[in-house]
Symmetry: C2
DNA sequence: GGCCTTTCTTTGTGATCACAACTTGAGAGC
DNA sequence: GCTCTCAAGTTGTGATCACAAAGAAAGGCC
């Protein structure tokens, strides 16, 4: 809704970018980028993908909302073309669903989906964390500690978006150290799938998380205890998803 | 290479489909479908996706091979458009890789990737099988048995492609009964990733698989023994990947 | 002969167009 | 007043075009 991404919308009220006089001046953003700034190949698509991904991860797209090609394209100030490809990509990762008639929408959470995502996270993420453990340096531990302190601050002030963003950073800064090429993408796909549902967490931040499992994880990293790290991550996932809550979801 | 899919290539030697006189007669297949047969929406893309997916799963694409948009499009007799979207989709599932310059190629197998795929399969597939167990009917068990008998026949006659196709059918007919919406797609992504590497199995069919774990799995299904089923699937995966072989792969 | 430069070709990318299917809304008929 | 019908608008899909960047190949220079 909020067109915060639109870089330089045409001043005329024409939503459709067709009909403007200039043609093919700059293939990236029609209206910005004053024709001369070197734009790397495929830059537009990368920007579009990043914008949509972060919108999904922080819950800015509400589940069930219809996503239209031209709508998103206009919102981002680009042609429908790069949006098409990004949508295909995200649909393949099940971050978006294409219905039988081709319409695209943000997937709605169901009880069964919720349970399965929880199960999949519990299977994969402790393993990825354990893979990362030998590669985690002192600098990584420091970075993780700083992120966790910021998380505490967000929990204290009730900043839900900040909490979600930082929680994502905490987990993936650790996971990335695993050097995993297979398991890590699978985990990323899972986070994208419950991301939109995160919206439910608004206002609920600070009520749960009696035990700070991140601190336990940091201790396990310090002592190089893979079993303890696995346990801490598993507990963190269970508690975090518990905070989201499965109750009230349709069962199918 | 063999243009078996091309329905009605222009008689002229022009590889590029531009320049043909007829325009916009039928949006599906240019030259076929005599303008009146109802073609469901998005039919072309579905066909293209199916074609490429099965090529990947049965190892018809050799790892490292460059995949070009226009090349594939010409081979399938369609415009580059649907191929673009399918490629994006498959790249998102890591069945294809997009290099930094935008070029697309079939991913090459490395030792690390191989180990990780094996680990991921061992984590996920026994679980999916266990989820499927309560839903497996007598009819499913019969179907699985028939597939396995066909597998035995292929192993006897050294039919590698038949073996790979049927092995895929065996596993996924079972897995599909789980009704899983999250774990099953993850598993499918894994199969797509080691599919091209399956090519290595040509000629090696029949040398391994001393224990028939499929038969063990069928027995576990009969006795509704989840633990035994998990074990059978895990062993089947280990043996199957062992037949593919990790030796000789570059380590990174 | 080997290496560098230049040209031509190939290839991905973004934009736009045309079309069919779907959705939505208004209006006529009962 | 309700429902059915039909028209207008919306939306996804396939095709084609134009362009820039990256490769490949050919030619010239040392």
């Amino acid at each position: 809704m909020e067109p915060s991404h639109k870089p330089a919308a045409p001043p005329t009220g024409s939503t459709s970018p067709s009909g403007n006089g200039e043609r093919k001046s700059d293939p990236s953003v029609p209206g910005a980028a004053p024709a001369g700034t070197a734009v790397p190949r495929g830059a537009t698509r990368a920007q579009v993908e990043q914008a949509i991904r972060s919108s999904l991860l922080t819950g800015r797209f509400i589940p069930g909302k219809a996503v239209t090609l031209r709508g998103l394209a206009a919102e981002l100030g680009v042609s429908p073309m790069p949006v098409r490809e990004v949508i295909q990509r995200l649909a393949a990762e099940h971050a978006l669903v294409v219905k039988s008639n081709g319409r695209v929408q943000v997937p709605e959470m169901t009880g069964a989906r919720f349970d399965e995502i929880l199960k999949a996270r519990l299977l994969l993420e402790p393993e990825v964390a354990a893979m990362a453990l030998p590669n985690l340096t002192k600098a990584d531990a420091d970075r993780l500690l700083r992120i966790d302190l910021d998380i505490d601050r967000c929990l204290g002030s009730g900043d839900a978006v900040g909490y979600m963003t930082l929680n994502h950073q905490f987990h993936f800064h650790m996971y990335r150290a695993s050097g995993s090429q297979i398991l890590l993408p699978l985990v990323e796909s899972l986070w994208l799938q419950f991301g939109p549902y995160m919206r439910m967490v608004y206002g609920r931040v600070g009520t749960a998380n009696l035990v700070d499992w991140h601190k336990q994880a940091l201790r396990a990293i310090d002592t190089r205890d893979a079993t303890a790290l696995r346990q801490a991550i598993a507990s963190d996932i269970s508690d975090g998803m518990g905070m989201l809550g499965r109750d009230g979801l349709p069962n199918p």
